[in-house]
């Protein structure tokens, strides 16, 4: 349960940035291992690609792209917050980062299915 003092937009932006960061940190080793199969076991890589054609995996990829975009745009907001002159529109910027991430991942899903 999220404690009452945390129920505001910028705390949600913080926790989503952390969760997406951890998610990507877990994903990247798997990603590089899979890429390495092109050199070590091309047959297994082809098998893996066939598996990724399933709807469940496509949807999971949508989640992955969403996390990636969210981490990137959320990170840009944080870098702007720390390095550029202060803007009072932090909640709007955080909401914008989530919205554009959803748009990008949605477009990815539409192309994938």
């Amino acid at each position: 349960m999220i404690r009452p003092h945390r129920t505001h937009a910028l705390w949600y932006a913080f926790i989503l940035h952390r969760i997406s960061g951890v998610g990507l940190a877990l994903f990247l080793p798997v990603h590089f291992y899979t890429l390495s199969l092109a050199l070590t076991a091309p047959g297994r890589l082809d098998e893996f690609f066939r598996w990724t054609d399933t709807a469940a995996v496509k949807f999971a990829e949508f989640g992955l792209v969403f996390l990636l975009a969210l981490h990137m745009f959320g990170g840009l907001r944080l870098m702007a917050l720390e390095w550029l002159p202060w803007s009072d529109r932090q909640k709007t910027l955080a909401a914008g980062a989530a919205a554009i991430s959803f748009l990008i991942s949605g477009l990815f899903l539409l192309r994938a299915i």
Partner: protein, 242 residues
């Protein structure tokens, strides 16, 4: 004037130090009533041993802050209707500070960190010098002005998860004070302030969760002040290396 509405169910934290539990009281609802009024009513009518702290009752002294339904608030300026959940309110001591007894916390760690952040005046002139003329429209003066209404209530300190997770972290109020003095032309401590806030427990520990700015009862923005300190400490680091 008492209304016809039912009594409120009020849970109040009782205990000294780390030990304690919530105790329930029934408090008559009134048309105009603050959280501090509720606490005072319990102390005057139910249990005179209830300990809490307040002074001015008008939002100036910063001594009556408590956790109300899990959120830090200045209780003298928080209307019961704002905080009431159904018919219930829980009132606890400020988070992130040691509890002395019941609702009274030990504020020493909070004020000690003001000193650690160099949140003290470093004079540029003596009493024999003429008073320095300050341009109110100056950019730095405007930035300093944004933080001077802090009443040291510790609401931001109680709201901050970084304080909860790191005992050394100076916290939003002390860092905002440091930023205010950094921008004050009458303060000669710019270098010592940057030294104080760039080390362990300094401004770079802030995760920009924004709870400090969200709950500041005076609508101040410690998160912006900390971002300013982050910029200045980083620029100072690069300037020193070149």
């Amino acid at each position: 004037m008492l209304s016809d509405s039912a009594d409120m169910e009020v849970s109040v934290w009782r205990g000294a130090g780390v030990a304690g539990q919530f105790e329930n009281f029934k408090v008559p609802a009134q048309e105009n009533q603050t959280i501090l009024d509720v606490v005072a009513w319990i102390q005057q009518n139910c249990d005179p041993t209830l300990s809490y702290r307040y002074a001015c009752r008008v939002g100036m002294c910063g001594s009556c802050a408590m956790m109300v339904n899990g959120v830090p608030r200045w209780t003298c300026r928080t209307h019961v209707k704002v905080a009431l959940q159904g018919n219930r309110i829980s009132i606890g001591p400020l988070r992130n500070l040691p509890v002395i007894k019941d609702l009274a916390t030990d504020m020493d760690p909070f004020f000690d960190k003001w000193i650690s952040a160099e949140g003290v005046h470093h004079p540029t002139r003596s009493r024999d010098d003429a008073i320095e003329q300050i341009d109110p429209e100056d950019h730095a003066r405007r930035q300093a002005n944004e933080g001077i209404e802090c009443i040291n209530c510790s609401v931001c300190y109680a709201a901050c998860d970084t304080v909860a997770g790191s005992a050394d972290y100076l916290g939003p109020a002390a860092l905002q004070r440091a930023w205010t003095l950094f921008n004050d032309a009458r303060d000669a401590g710019r270098v010592s302030i940057l030294e104080a806030v760039s080390g362990k427990g300094g401004c770079h520990n802030c995760h920009s969760q924004g709870s400090c700015s969200q709950y500041c009862p005076n609508d101040l923005n410690p998160m912006a002040a900390i971002a300013g300190l982050k910029r200045e400490t980083a620029l100072s680091f690069f300037k020193r290396r070149t």
